[in-house]
């Protein structure tokens, strides 16, 4: 029995686990196409946990608010305070409702303006690790979502769907280090690729030496990568550093405030490139 006791052999176990990880990583790095099944299944299962956590936190908040409200009922004198607090809470609720309505109106206006088939979705969770900038939305394959569908907001481009499960989908934000989008400068029509970077900023790369780019220029999607529809706002040029004739660093400030996103639109209409690819595959 002593031979079977793995606790006596921590070193062997450690080597075995590390070896397992190395094999796992190697298998993925060698095959770069498609989403790993483990990733899709785990995400699908955990999306439900995230949904439950979202409902749970809201419930706890409601219970806590109720408890605080009850404490205010103890004396007559505090009755007035309670009424005032209720009125203030109601005012805040109405304000929140008005804000939400305005947000939905903006989404609706964007939907009409873009003439794209879109679907509104709510963000229900953030990424599981601080190293990847992803969020989870409450729509999935059941609602017609597919990988690489673009996600937009009234302010501009948000990101793309990386893994849809049945009732939720993981969205890679444009500011993720692995994210990229074809970009075009509105004023000079100079083209390049915008990639996620550090500190909530984007970097514009693959820009020609002859391109005309200055601080403040509006950066739009070029649609060249076949994910994002053409002409949507990415952000504004914040910094341009040149090294002789070539561009050393071009920093773009995203138009979308990723910290205050609550609702987004999923673009269901495929881009011309994606539609052509789908046509070929069929």
């Amino acid at each position: 029995m002593a031979i079977l006791d793995i606790r006596q052999r921590a070193g062997y176990l450690f080597v075995a686990v590390i070896l397992g990880h190395v094999i796992l990583i190697s298998a993925q790095v060698n095959t770069r196409s498609g989403v790993p099944i483990l990733e899709a299944v785990t995400f699908g299962v955990f999306a439900e946990v995230q949904r439950a956590a979202s409902v749970g936190t809201s419930g706890i908040r409601r219970v806590w608010s109720g408890y605080i409200g009850l404490r205010h009922l103890q004396t007559d004198n505090e009755e007035l305070k309670r009424q005032l607090a209720d009125a203030q809470i109601e005012l805040q609720r109405q304000r929140a409702l008005a804000d939400r309505t305005r947000g939905l109106e903006r989404l609706l206006a964007l939907r009409d303006q873009s003439k794209l088939m879109t679907m509104a979705a709510e963000i229900i969770a953030a990424g599981a690790t601080p190293d990847f900038r992803t969020v989870t939305i409450d729509k999935g394959t059941r609602d017609g979502l597919r990988p690489d569908m673009a996600i937009i907001a009234p302010a501009g481009v948000v990101g793309r769907i990386v893994i849809p499960s049945v009732r939720a989908a993981k969205v890679q934000l444009l500011i993720d280090r692995n994210a990229a989008a074809g970009a075009i400068i509105e004023r000079s029509r100079a083209q390049g690729v915008v990639v996620g970077g550090v500190d909530e900023r984007l970097q514009m790369q693959k820009v020609s030496e002859a391109a005309d780019i200055v601080t403040g220029d509006l950066v739009l999607t070029s649609g060249i990568e076949g994910i994002y529809p053409k002409g949507f706002i990415i952000g504004r040029i914040e910094l341009v550093e040149k090294n002789g004739p070539s561009y050393k660093r071009i920093i773009v400030r995203p138009a979308v405030d990723f910290t205050s996103l609550e609702e987004v639109l999923v673009v269901l209409t495929p881009t011309p490139a994606r539609a052509a690819a789908q046509g070929n595959s069929e």
Binding site: I18, F132, Q172
Partner: protein, 169 residues
């Protein structure tokens, strides 16, 4: 029973990380709660539990991220194992040594995690020193607080019960 507790703690940390992450200002989460749980478990339970909980937590976290599955798992396995060894070889019972272990554990985790991505030419991280230091500090503070709460809470509750019993008499 202990394994169930560890699994619950990891799932809870993941749930909390994903639920609260979107409310944090600037969108940057300065604390990796899952890593804090792994370090805590490793310090209290030793290298075997540390490496197993690190592997499980890291793999799940990888699967929920858009990165390569296994890199976070490997980093957390290594950190869990090393922290478990430190926990069994040295007396880490005061807040400052615990702070150092949590801080160093986060730094080692970041080095392995980012190092593997750079080595495999999958990602570039620029100069992440500030972000890593910030996360290490955040993890250390949360870790030390977790120890304090777990150790002090039973005593506080016991004292309260005693006081209530005296008042009734």
């Amino acid at each position: 029973m202990k394994a169930a507790g560890v699994i619950l703690a990891i799932v809870g940390a993941l749930g909390l990380q994903t639920a609260l992450g979107r409310f944090v200002s600037r969108g940057t989460v300065a604390v990796d709660l899952v890593l804090v749980v792994v370090l805590y478990v490793a310090l209290t339970s030793g290298p075997v539990t540390g490496l197993l909980s690190g592997a499980a937590a890291g793999l799940v976290q990888d699967a929920l991220s858009s990165g390569v599955i296994g890199i976070g798992g490997l980093a957390k396995t290594l950190v869990g194992f090393l922290t478990g060894i430190i926990g069994t070889q040295f007396i880490v019972a005061q807040p400052f040594p615990r702070f150092v272990v949590f801080f160093a554990g986060t730094v080692v985790h970041a080095i392995v995690f980012m190092g593997l991505y750079v080595l495999l030419e999958l990602r570039q991280f620029g100069t992440p020193y500030g972000a890593v230091a910030g996360q290490a500090f955040g993890n250390a503070v949360v870790g030390v607080l977790a120890f304090q709460v777990v150790e002090l809470l039973p005593g506080v509750l016991e004292r309260r019960r005693g006081q209530r019993a005296r008042i009734r008499r």
